[in-house]
C-alpha cells in the first residue's frame, strides 16, 4: 500500500518551507491551500503551487481544492471530496474548519499547534468556541485525532484528552547556520507586526518603545495599516529583509512566554545575527539559560543592546558563537526522527476501521408545549423519515418530551411510535457551575467551565441523552430558568424573536435563556427570512450558523375527510379571530377597531379563539394563570367597557381541533391583527377550507403568505382605522376572496410532506448523516 495523502491546511511561509518538503521526502503526497483569509494569514502567509506536483490527484480535483477556502466551514461537497482524496489533515485552531473536520472527515485529524499566550490553553480556547459537544466529538473520534505539539511542553497545561492524544512534531527551520551577518548598522532590530490592528502587538510595540526607544532601532514585521513612526519599516522585499538580518546590530526578542516562540529570533540565529532575549521564555527550554544573549532584566538587555549598537564586536562574537545551540532542536537531524515516528502513528490511526453506524437523531421538545411547537416537532420527525427514505439514509429518530401526563394520551405521539420513532421522557434539574466543572473534569476536558451560570440538565435516566449523535431542539426555550446543558452537537429552532418587537413580552431572564440556548448551539434553524435577519442582528448569531428551513404546515385536507371541507357556499354571519393571550396579538387596537366597525354598521359577529383566550372572558382566576395578568386585565376591562363587544364578540378559548375546524369552515373570513411573530399558520388552515384571511402587514407574515401561495389581505396593525376599513372590505368582498383562493391556490405545495426534502437536506448537512 502506498503512502498516504496529506491535506496540510496552513499558509505560513516558513512553516511550509520546512514541513511540506519533509513530508514529501518521506513519501507522502501533500496539498497546500491556495486561498487564505487575511485574518488568519497575517503577514507571514503566502500561497505556493510548487508542491502540487507531489499529488497524484486529477487536475479537476486539484482545481476544486484550489478554489476552496479551508478557513471557513467546509461544505458537505468539500468534505466528500477530501474524504475521497486524503487520509490525513493537518489543521490549525480555526474553529469552523476544525468543526467541519472533526464531524465530517473520516481520516486522521492532526491539530498542529504552536503554543499560546501565557495564562490560557488550547483547551480554554477550543472549549469556549466549539463547546463541550465539540470536545466530546474530538474524544469520540478517539485515536484519529492528534494533538500535534511543535514544542514538547505544550500539552503540559492542556486537559487530559489533549494530553492523551499529544504527539511531538517539532518545528523545523532547516537549522543550518547561514553565517551571513556582518553588522555595520547601529540599529537594533525588533519585530512588531500589526501594531495598529492587533491590541496584543500594539502593547508589545509600546513596551518596546518605552524601554528601548532611545537606542537606535528599526521595527520589522508587516503592517496592515501604516504606523506613524519612522522606525517602523512595514512589509519589506526579500532583499531588504535579508539586508536587515545581516547588517543591523542585533535582534531583541521580548517574549517571556514559556509556550510560544516566534520564528524571527530563530531566523536571526540562522543569519548569525546576535540575539538578545528575555529570560523565562521558550528559548530557555532550548538550552538558552546560560547564553550571553539572555537577559534577566530590561536594564541588562538595554546594557547589552547599547554595547552591540555601538559596535562591540567582542560581545557580538561571544553571543553568535554560543547561540547556535538554540537551533539544534529545530534542525532537520533533530526533527526528522520525531516526524517519522509521529507520522507512522498517525498513519496507523487512519487504518482504524469504524463501523458505519446508523445516525441517532434526537428531537427534543424543550418545555411543556402542546400547540404549534408540538405540531412542528411531530412534523419535523416525520420529515426526517420521509427525507431519509428518499435518499436511502439510515438513521434512528427519537422524540423526547417532558415527563408529564399531558403527553401520555397524545395521539400524535402514538402515531410517531407506530412509524418507528422512539420516545423518551425527561425531567429537568438545575445545576451550578461547580457541577459543570466536575463534569468537565470527569470527562477529561479540563476544569474551566466554558459558560458561566447555572444550567438545566435534562435527565433521561440513561446518561442524559449522551447516546445520540445529534439533537434538534424544537425551540429556544428551557424547561427551567437556565440554558440547557448539552454534550452532543445540536441545532436550536428559533421560531421568532417576538421580544425584539414587544420588549416587555417576557422577562429579562427568559430572554437571556433563549439567546444563550441559541449561542451555545451548533446551528440555528429559522423558518422565515425575516427571522433569519433577526437572528443575526438581534441575537448576534454568526451567519454561518443560521439555516433557513421551510415552515412545517399541514393541510387540513389531508387531515380531515373530504366531505368535511367547506365548499364555500354555506357561510355564517361571523368571522374568526385567531389569537392567544399574549401581547403581540395586538388585542387593544384590534378591539378598538372592532368597536368602530360595529359603531359604523358592521354586522358580522366575531369569534375569538386560541390558547388562553378564555382568560379574556373574565370568568377565570388569573392568579395562577399562565398569562401576563396585568395585560389580560387591561383587555378584560376594555371588553367590559364596550357594550357592542359584549354582544358581538364571542370568546371561545382554546378549542379542540375538530371544534375549531368546524367553526373555521363556517366563518366568512379569519383575522390576524397581531405582529412580531413568525407569521400565523392559521391562515393556511383557513385557506384549506376556502376561508380568506385578513392579516397584519409585517415581513414574516408576508413571507409566510408567499411561502404558502395564499392570497392574503393585509392591514396596518398599528392603525385602528386601517383595521376597521379592512374589516368592512372583507365583509363586502369575502366571497370574491374565497373564490380567489379556490382558483389560485395550490396549498399542497406548502404542506410539510412536500417540503420534507428541503428540510431534510439541511438536517443531513448539519448532522452529517
Amino acid at each position: 500500500m502506498g503512502k498516504k495523502r496529506i491535506l496540510w491546511l496552513f499558509n505560513h511561509t516558513s512553516l511550509r518551507e520546512y514541513e511540506v518538503p519533509l513530508m514529501i521526502n518521506m513519501g507522502y503526497e501533500v496539498y497546500c491551500p491556495k486561498i487564505f483569509d487575511v485574518e488568519f494569514g497575517d503577514m507571514s502567509a503566502s500561497i505556493s503551487y510548487s508542491f502540487d506536483n507531489s499529488l497524484t490527484l486529477s487536475d479537476e480535483i486539484i482545481e476544486k481544492l484550489n478554489c476552496t477556502n479551508f478557513y471557513r466551514r467546509l461544505s458537505a461537497e468539500t468534505l466528500e471530496m477530501i474524504n475521497e482524496a486524503f487520509d490525513i489533515v493537518f489543521c490549525m485552531v480555526s474553529v469552523e474548519p476544525l468543526k467541519s473536520l472533526i464531524y465530517g472527515f473520516k481520516g486522521a485529524v492532526v491539530l498542529h499547534v504552536f503554543g499560546v499566550a501565557d495564562g490560557i490553553s488550547y483547551t480554554d480556547i477550543l472549549g469556549s468556541r466549539i463547546g463541550i459537544q465539540g470536545l466530546k466529538q474530538i474524544d469520540k473520534i478517539g485515536n484519529r485525532f492528534w494533538f500535534s505539539q511543535t514544542y514538547d511542553n505544550l500539552a503540559d497545561i492542556e486537559c487530559d484528552m489533549f494530553k492523551r492524544r499529544a504527539i511531538y512534531m517539532p518545528l523545523g527551520i532547516g537549522g543550518k547556520l547561514r553565517e551571513k551577518w556582518c553588522g555595520g548598522d547601529d540599529r537594533i532590530l525588533f519585530i512588531g507586526p500589526k501594531i495598529k490592528t492587533n491590541s496584543f502587538y500594539r502593547k508589545v510595540y509600546e513596551d518596546f518603545k518605552k524601554q528601548f526607544g532611545d537606542i537606535p532601532h528599526a521595527i520589522g514585521g508587516g503592517q496592515l495599516t501604516p504606523v506613524d513612526d519612522e522606525s517602523v519599516m512595514g512589509f519589506l522585499p526579500k532583499e531588504q529583509y535579508v539586508w536587515n538580518m545581516t547588517h543591523l546590530a542585533a535582534m531583541y526578542y521580548h517574549s517571556k512566554n514559556p509556550r510560544h516562540l516566534h520564528y524571527h529570533p530563530l531566523e536571526a540565529i540562522e543569519y548569525g545575527m546576535p540575539l538578545i532575549f528575555m529570560a523565562g521564555g521558550m528559548l530557555d527550554h532550548f538550552g538558552g539559560k546560560d547564553l550571553p544573549g539572555r537577559c534577566k532584566t530590561v536594564s541588562e538587555a538595554r546594557r547589552k543592546l547599547k554595547r552591540l549598537s555601538k559596535g562591540d564586536r567582542r560581545l557580538a562574537k561571544k553571543i553568535i558563537q554560543s547561540q547556535g545551540i538554540l537551533l539544534q532542536q529545530f534542525s532537520d537531524e533533530y526533527c526528522r526522527p520525531f516526524w517519522e515516528k509521529a507520522l507512522q502513528n498517525i498513519e496507523k490511526s487512519c487504518d482504524t476501521i469504524e463501523k458505519e453506524e446508523r445516525k441517532k437523531l434526537l428531537i427534543v421538545i424543550p418545555a411543556k408545549y402542546t400547540g404549534g411547537v408540538f405540531d412542528y416537532a411531530v412534523r419535523f420527525c416525520k420529515c426526517i423519515l420521509i427525507g431519509a427514505e428518499q435518499l436511502g439514509d439510515k438513521c434512528d429518530v427519537t422524540i423526547a418530551y417532558p415527563d408529564d401526563p399531558i403527553y401520555e394520551t397524545s395521539n400524535e405521539i402514538y402515531e410517531l411510535r407506530s412509524m418507528g420513532i422512539k420516545v423518551r421522557t425527561y425531567t429537568c434539574v438545575v445545576r451550578d457551575e461547580n457541577w459543570q466543572a466536575n463534569c468537565l473534569e470527569i470527562k477529561g476536558f479540563g476544569e474551566t467551565i466554558f459558560y458561566a451560570g447555572e444550567v438545566c440538565v435534562l435527565k433521561d435516566g440513561m446518561g442524559d441523552f449522551n447516546d445520540f449523535d445529534y439533537a434538534f431542539v424544537m425551540s429556544d426555550a428551557s424547561p427551567e430558568n437556565a440554558p440547557i446543558y448539552w454534550e452532543i452537537p445540536h441545532t436550536v429552532v428559533a421560531h421568532d424573536y417576538i421580544q425584539h418587537y414587544i420588549p416587555d413580552i417576557m422577562s429579562d431572564e427568559a430572554i437571556h435563556v433563549k439567546i444563550e440556548n441559541q449561542r451555545r448551539a451548533d446551528s440555528i434553524f429559522v423558518t422565515s427570512d425575516p427571522t433569519r435577519l433577526d437572528a443575526y442582528t438581534y441575537a448576534g448569531i454568526e451567519e454561518d450558523k443560521v439555516r433557513l428551513t421551510p415552515y412545517m404546515l399541514e393541510s387540513i385536507s389531508t387531515m380531515r375527510k373530504v366531505e368535511d371541507i367547506n365548499t364555500g357556499e354555506e357561510k355564517n354571519e361571523y368571522f374568526l379571530w385567531s389569537s392567544n393571550a399574549a401581547k403581540h396579538k395586538n388585542h387593544i387596537r384590534a378591539l378598538k377597531a372592532l368597536v368602530r366597525y360595529y359603531e359604523n354598521g358592521g354586522e358580522l359577529d366575531c369569534y375569538m379563539t386560541g390558547v388562553n383566550t378564555e382568560y379574556f372572558t373574565g370568568k377565570f382566576n388569573l392568579n395562577d394563570a399562565p398569562v401576563v395578568k396585568e395585560y389580560v386585565k387591561e383587555v378584560i376591562d376594555y371588553i367590559k367597557s364596550q357594550e357592542c363587544l359584549n354582544s358581538k364578540l364571542h370568546i371561545m378559548g382554546n378549542m379542540s381541533k375538530d371544534a375549531y375546524y368546524k367553526l373555521l369552515r363556517g366563518a366568512k373570513f379569519i383575522i390576524h391583527p397581531g405582529f412580531g411573530d413568525n407569521g400565523n399558520g392559521s391562515v393556511y388552515d383557513a385557506a384549506s377550507v376556502n376561508v380568506p384571511s385578513l392579516v397584519s402587514d409585517y415581513p414574516a407574515m408576508r413571507y409566510m403568505g408567499e411561502f404558502m401561495g395564499v392570497p392574503l389581505k393585509y392591514m396596518n396593525p398599528y392603525d385602528v382605522v386601517s383595521i376597521t376599513n379592512a374589516l368592512f372590505d372583507m365583509e363586502a368582498n369575502c366571497s370574491d376572496y374565497s373564490q380567489q383562493i379556490r382558483t389560485e391556490c395550490d396549498l399542497d405545495k406548502a404542506d410539510y410532506r412536500n417540503v420534507a426534502h428541503e428540510l431534510y437536506k439541511v438536517i443531513k448537512e448539519v448532522a452529517n448523516i
Binding site: N143, C439, G461, M462
Partner: protein, 513 residues
C-alpha cells in the same frame, strides 16, 4: 514465573470472599496452585486483611511473600478506629450494653465484700472507659478542626467547589496516593519480578515501576461515559487517576474485547499499547443453597429441597425498603436484577419497562431489585408517582446465600445495563441456579451472546418498550429460553477460578514476551 501483585486499596476497602476479595483470593490461589511465586505489595494497613483472605482461600501462606510499607499513617489509624466502631455497631462503647453487663455481674455477687470490691473494679474500669470516651471526643474535635483547616487550604488551592464528603475523600486519596509512591519505591528497590499485575486503575504510580514489566487491569472508565450523573456522586480525581494509569501504561488486561477496542485502542491507541482479554470466571451460586438430592429421598419427600431451601431463605430476607412486600414474594412470581444502583445501570428505564409489562401487557410478576433506593432519587420519585410501590421490592445488602436464593426463586433474570467492564456476572449467577436471563444489547454482552446464537435473548436497553416486550416474550417462553442458554452456560461453567487464573498466567506470558 515470579508474579507480583500490586494493591493499594484504601483502609475502607472490604476484602472478603465476595467481590474484590474473591477476585484477588482466587487469582492468588490459582497462581500458587500453578507453582508460580507470588508476591503481594500492599500498604501496611491491608496486610493482615490480605493474609486473612488468603487463609480463607486456603492458600499456603509460605508460598506468598509480602512487600509492605513501613507503617500506617496516624490519620489512617484513627480512621480505622472509627471504622471498627462502625462495623461492630454496638461495640465497647455501647453504654447500654455495658450497663446491662455491669448489672448482670453485680446482681450475681452474693457477699458485701465481693460486691464492694466489684463496685471498685467497675469504678476503675468506668474511669478508663470515660477517659477513652473523652479522648475520642477530643479526637473528634481535633478532626473537625483539621477538616476546617484542610478546607481552607483547598479553597486557597482553587478546589473550593467540593463538598465536605468530597474533601474528606480527597484528603484520604492523597494519603493513599502517597502510600502508592512508597510501595513503588519498595518494588523498585526489591527483587525483580517477571511481571507486576495491577488489578485496578486507581494507582498511576505503578507506571513509575522501572525495569520490570507491569500489566494493568482495565475494567472500564464508566464515569467518563456518564459524567453528568457521576459528577453528582464522585469527585473527578479518581477518574483522572485512572486516565493517567492508562496513559502511562503499556500492557493491559481487560474483561472483554469491547473495552480493549473502545477504550485502549480508540482513545489511547497507536502509541505502544498492548492488551488482551481475560473474561470473568463463572460465579456458581448453587454452592450456597444446594441440598444434595439423596437427602430428599432419605427423607422421602417428593420435592426439590434446594428450591424449598431457597424459598425459605427468600421469605426471611429482611425487606430493607418501604416498598414491596417480602413475605409474599415466594408465593408469587418475580423478575430479578441484582445490581447496585449506578447511573449506567438503567434502572429508571427498566422500571418504566416493568410498568408497561404489568399495566399494558397484563403480566403478574413482581420486580426484585438489590440496589439502595436513595442513591437515585429520580427512581424513588417515579415509583411513588406511578404507584409501583407494591410491585417493586428492594432488598439491598443481602448475603451471598440470600442472593443465590433470590436468583433461584426468580422466574427470569433481566440485566438492563447500559455499560459494563465485561460480560455481566448475572447471567452465570442466574443459570447456575436454573434461572435464565435476558440482557441488554450492548457490545459487552453481544460479543458473548452473538457467537452463542443468543441474539433473541437481547433487547435494546434504551427503549423501554423493547425491554418490556422482551420480558413478556421471555416470561412466555421460559423453558425455551433456558434451553437456548444452557449450552453457553455449560461452557461458562467450566471457567472456574483456577482455570481463569491459569489464563492470566498465559496472558502475562504473551504480553511480556
Amino acid at each position: 514465573m515470579k508474579i507480583g501483585i500490586f494493591t493499594n486499596y484504601g483502609p475502607k476497602a472490604t476484602l472478603n470472599s465476595e467481590g474484590l476479595g474473591r477476585y484477588l483470593g482466587s487469582l492468588v490461589r490459582g497462581f500458587v496452585e500453578n507453582g508460580e511465586e507470588v508476591t503481594i505489595a500492599c500498604p501496611k494497613w491491608s496486610e493482615s486483611n490480605l493474609k486473612k483472605l488468603l487463609k480463607e482461600f486456603t492458600v499456603d501462606s509460605s508460598k506468598v511473600s509480602f512487600m509492605v510499607t513501613a507503617k500506617i499513617p496516624p490519620i489512617i489509624r484513627i480512621q480505622q478506629l472509627f471504622l471498627r466502631k462502625k462495623k461492630t455497631k454496638k461495640g465497647f462503647l455501647n453504654i447500654e450494653a455495658i450497663e446491662h453487663a455491669i448489672m448482670d455481674y453485680l446482681s450475681g455477687r452474693d457477699s458485701l465484700i465481693s460486691f464492694l470490691f466489684s463496685v471498685a473494679i467497675m469504678g476503675f474500669l468506668g474511669g478508663v472507659v470515660s477517659i477513652v470516651v473523652i479522648g475520642k471526643k477530643l479526637i473528634k474535635k481535633l478532626l473537625r478542626f483539621l477538616k476546617k483547616l484542610v478546607k481552607k487550604c483547598l479553597i486557597k488551592g482553587g478546589i473550593s467547589r467540593y463538598n465536605n464528603k468530597a474533601i474528606r475523600e480527597l484528603f484520604f486519596e492523597k494519603i493513599v496516593s502517597h502510600t502508592a509512591d512508597e510501595i513503588v519505591k519498595i518494588i523498585n528497590d526489591g527483587e525483580k519480578k517477571d511481571v507486576w499485575y495491577v488489578p485496578a486503575l486507581f494507582w498511576p504510580q505503578v507506571n513509575d515501576i522501572i525495569d520490570q514489566k507491569v500489566v494493568i487491569c482495565v475494567p472500564d472508565l464508566v464515569t467518563e461515559e456518564y459524567a453528568t450523573s457521576f459528577s453528582e456522586l464522585s469527585t473527578p480525581s479518581q477518574t483522572k487517576a485512572c486516565r493517567s494509569t492508562i496513559q502511562g501504561g503499556k500492557l493491559f488486561i481487560t474483561y472483554c474485547d469491547y473495552i480493549g477496542r473502545s477504550l485502549i485502542d480508540r482513545k489511547y491507541g497507536c502509541i505502544d499499547k498492548k492488551w488482551l482479554t481475560v473474561r470473568h470466571s463463572n460465579h456458581d451460586m448453587m454452592e450456597y443453597i444446594s441440598i444434595p438430592k439423596n437427602i430428599a429421598s432419605r427423607l422421602n419427600v417428593d420435592k426439590d429441597l434446594t428450591v424449598e431451601f431457597a424459598k425459605g431463605l427468600v421469605s426471611h430476607i429482611p425487606n430493607r425498603s418501604k416498598f414491596g412486600n417480602m413475605d409474599q414474594l415466594v408465593n408469587g412470581h418475580y423478575i430479578f436484577y441484582a445490581s447496585q444502583f449506578r447511573p449506567h445501570k438503567n434502572i429508571l428505564n427498566f422500571i418504566k419497562a416493568y410498568e408497561h409489562l404489568i399495566r399494558n401487557r397484563f403480566r403478574h410478576e413482581r420486580l426484585v431489585l438489590t440496589g439502595i433506593l436513595k442513591t437515585l432519587p429520580d427512581i424513588e420519585r417515579y415509583i411513588y408517582e406511578h404507584d409501583l410501590q407494591n410491585e417493586i421490592v428492594f432488598c439491598n445488602g443481602v448475603s451471598a446465600q440470600e442472593l443465590a436464593a433470590l436468583y433461584c426463586c426468580a422466574d427470569l433474570v433481566v440485566n438492563p445495563t447500559l455499560y459494563e467492564g465485561g460480560f455481566p456476572f448475572t447471567f452465570g449467577e442466574g443459570m447456575s441456579v436454573g434461572t435464565p436471563s435476558i440482557m441488554s444489547d450492548i457490545p459487552q454482552v453481544r460479543e458473548v451472546f452473538e457467537p452463542a446464537g443468543l441474539e433473541e435473548a437481547m433487547f435494546n436497553p434504551r427503549d423501554y418498550l423493547d425491554i418490556s416486550e422482551k420480558m413478556y416474550w421471555a416470561l412466555e417462553n421460559l423453558d425455551y429460553l433456558k434451553q437456548m442458554e444452557q449450552p453457553l452456560y455449560d461452557k461458562m461453567a467450566k471457567r472456574t477460578d483456577s482455570v481463569v487464573a491459569k489464563e492470566y498466567i498465559e496472558v502475562f506470558k504473551k504480553l511480556i514476551s
